[in-house]
Symmetry: none
Subunit: 418 residues, 2 copies
């Protein structure tokens, strides 16, 4: 099956919006074994949209559109893209009910424009939108498939996963199964070096490495008739990679170090408290991203000022005077202070220079101390990070989580030995 | 002038790379008054590339390509795209010298593939590459302009700025100036309704509305000979929009509500402390995103447990027992508690049900109370938010900032009246 991805939106042509949907959809289609031959972007303009849609039908079996389904422009896009199949637009009862509920929940009046979003081609499959107003559409005919998705990624992604992906998978006779191995804190070239012989002789599964934010991803992709067969091809290669990367390899699949750590804490019922300076709440917030974390996450203190560090966490005035707020000594007292105040098993702290100002020769921008109080012991770690303020703060949070993960794993390995 | 942006690269069609070049080029062309009618992505495939290029020449005056100039695939792209003009490829002396130097500096041997990068169409303008190996090309003829740029953004951007932008500017006899007005907490259709007559009769400036995350953007774009003339066209329309939208319109240009609030606090030297439950540090972290905020941001407490709410903020046990942690009463005590503990002018608090669990019939997921202690007074606000856990938390942070902004502005308006 050959596909074209067609994004509709003048705001993309103006550069106001980055077309991340095209990347997401391309990745998804690749995993389904569907080739994408073109990505096109066209504005909210009837003539050019018609031209682009007709061209797409002429050169692809599958046309996936994103955007143009909102209340202000949906007539145009829906009519233009579905005209090819020759079915009239009719009101979908469930879509209308969902629209009505949506506006009721927001206590807003539903205008006629909004109402039109519930119109769908007769006989088409409706993809209901749990995260917005415009439903999506799957329409088949004349040997072609049209899949229309809304523009906002937070609507498009769940809709694709729920409806379009299983639909497309059912059309394919061999499938691609990918397994993702996630590696923390080792550079891409180092990972490639460690796996070079495996990468060189790869066939099925294929092995690809990517850098994603602050980690390296190894993706193993096998082609087979069934998922079980594909997994059988992947298993021995994955095992070999586990062997070589040790506990740098922290998880499989779609997850993050912070998620893995939150799961570990909940499973072990280890309580945690957080004291932050340079990360300013981002570390706490990342814990709280995890649903159910309230079982073990007791509190977070953003002690940006020295006064708050002393009052809230019991950091000593002498320590601040002698070593400064950005120091191993302060980090240690912050971690211990917050753990003891909250009565937590674990206290974790950050203090550093996130920039753009505040750097010195001795402690340049990117100098960050982490503190970890863990079952009665306190340790600290100095990291040097590069990038802008935001990147340094995000990287600090990642480093703190990864350090906590390694500490828990190491402690447990030691206890198992004893 | 009508333009098409054509990215060449199979890696984009596989979803391995996000096409940020298209956004960058679109923005640049918009500011030059050049309309982009299509963005296209095609793989490194001779037949489909030929098809895409011919189509682009048939419907655009200006074709800008990115990618496909590297040592492995440059023949294909360069020959295919320049064939239209009928000039042979010849070696460019300076480009060859730069290539030779590049490889010498890296102490690597230059292969024949690499040599071919210095081949350019006879008579074309060569855009030398200071940041990589492949030079770019500007070619004109038959009423068309072709601009070929390398794929990596760190090469493409400086090359566009240095060569292509001045070249294109010299072709334009009028420029476009845009002014962006940002509106908080009013739906897109409501904004369109309020501005309907202005939008209907728009000519110069044009008026466009967009939803961007949790706000609505109104973009006014005027076409004129000079920037001053364009601004003269925009001013009266902007004034009228200010009039109609009141303080829902919170800023102009590239900014956010949180940035506006941080600036207001710093200008007024108003100190702030934050007490968070459901947002879990995200509100503090958003303050800390703003460089220099340490002047006024005193502390943040993430009091996720009831115990922490009582111990850290002085929330009363009776309040929690009687009204629950998610209540106006608790929000009020949290805001006042943190402000008084930190000695801050302003205390702001969040407590709500972010989900996915924890909702009740009385307080469903998305029920959030905000508390605001401001110069001795405490008030609370109940908001109902929709979406997943992350969205509810982000939306809570936006709501808190916007409420603080409106409160400060209202107080000042009152004081001015007195």
């Amino acid at each position: 099956m050959e596909a074209e991805i067609l994004a509709v939106g003048t705001e993309i042509l103006l550069g106001d919006i980055l077309n991340t949907n095209a990347q997401y959809l391309s990745k998804q289609l690749a995993s389904l074994g569907i080739n994408v031959h073109f990505q096109t972007v066209v504005g909210d303009n009837a003539e050019r949209l018609t031209q682009a849609v007709n061209l797409a039908y002429s050169r692809a079996d599958l046309v996936i559109t994103s955007g143009g389904l909102g209340p202000t422009e949906d007539d145009l896009t829906k009519e233009t893209c579905t005209r090819y199949f020759g079915e009239p637009l009719v009101e979908d009862e469930k879509a209308m009910a969902m629209l009505t509920d949506f506006f009721k929940a927001l206590n807003r009046t539903m205008t006629d424009n909004n109402r039109k979003q519930a119109m769908v081609p007769r006989g088409a499959t409706v993809m209901y939108n749990e995260n917005g107003t415009a439903p999506g559409i799957i329409q088949e005919g004349k040997g072609k498939i049209l899949i229309m998705l809304p523009g906002p990624p937070r609507e498009l992604i769940p809709m694709f996963e729920t409806y379009a992906k299983p639909f497309l998978a059912s059309k394919q006779d061999s499938i691609f199964v990918s397994r993702v191995l996630r590696i923390a804190k080792v550079g891409e070239s180092e990972v490639e070096h460690l796996l070079k012989d495996l990468i060189d002789k790869q066939t099925n599964p294929t092995i690809a490495t990517y850098v994603k934010r602050y980690e390296v991803i190894v993706r193993l992709t096998a082609k087979a008739k069934t998922e079980a067969e594909a997994n059988k091809l992947i298993d021995p290669v994955a095992e070999e990679i586990y062997e070589r990367l040790g506990n740098n390899l922290y998880a499989e699949g779609e997850t993050t170090v912070s998620e893995v750590v939150c799961k570990m804490l909940l499973e072990r019922n280890l309580t945690v408290a957080v004291a932050e300076s340079c990360t300013g709440g981002m570390l706490s917030s990342t814990f709280v991203d995890y649903p159910g974390i309230s079982q073990v996450f007791l509190e977070g203190d953003v002690t940006y000022s020295n006064e708050a560090k002393m009052r809230r966490l019991g950091v000593k005035a002498e320590t601040l005077a002698q070593h400064g707020a950005v120091s191993a000594q302060t980090a240690a007292q912050m971690a211990e202070g917050v753990a003891k105040a909250a009565g937590a098993d674990i206290g974790i702290s950050t203090t550093g220079v996130a920039g753009p100002d505040g750097g010195t020769e001795e402690k340049p921008v990117g100098t960050v101390y982490l503190g970890l109080y863990y079952q009665g012991e306190v340790k600290t770690k100095l990291v040097h990070l590069v990038g802008n303020r935001e990147r340094i703060r995000i990287r600090t949070v990642e480093a703190a989580f990864d350090w906590l993960r390694r500490t828990i794993q190491k402690k447990e390995a030691e206890q198992t030995k004893e």
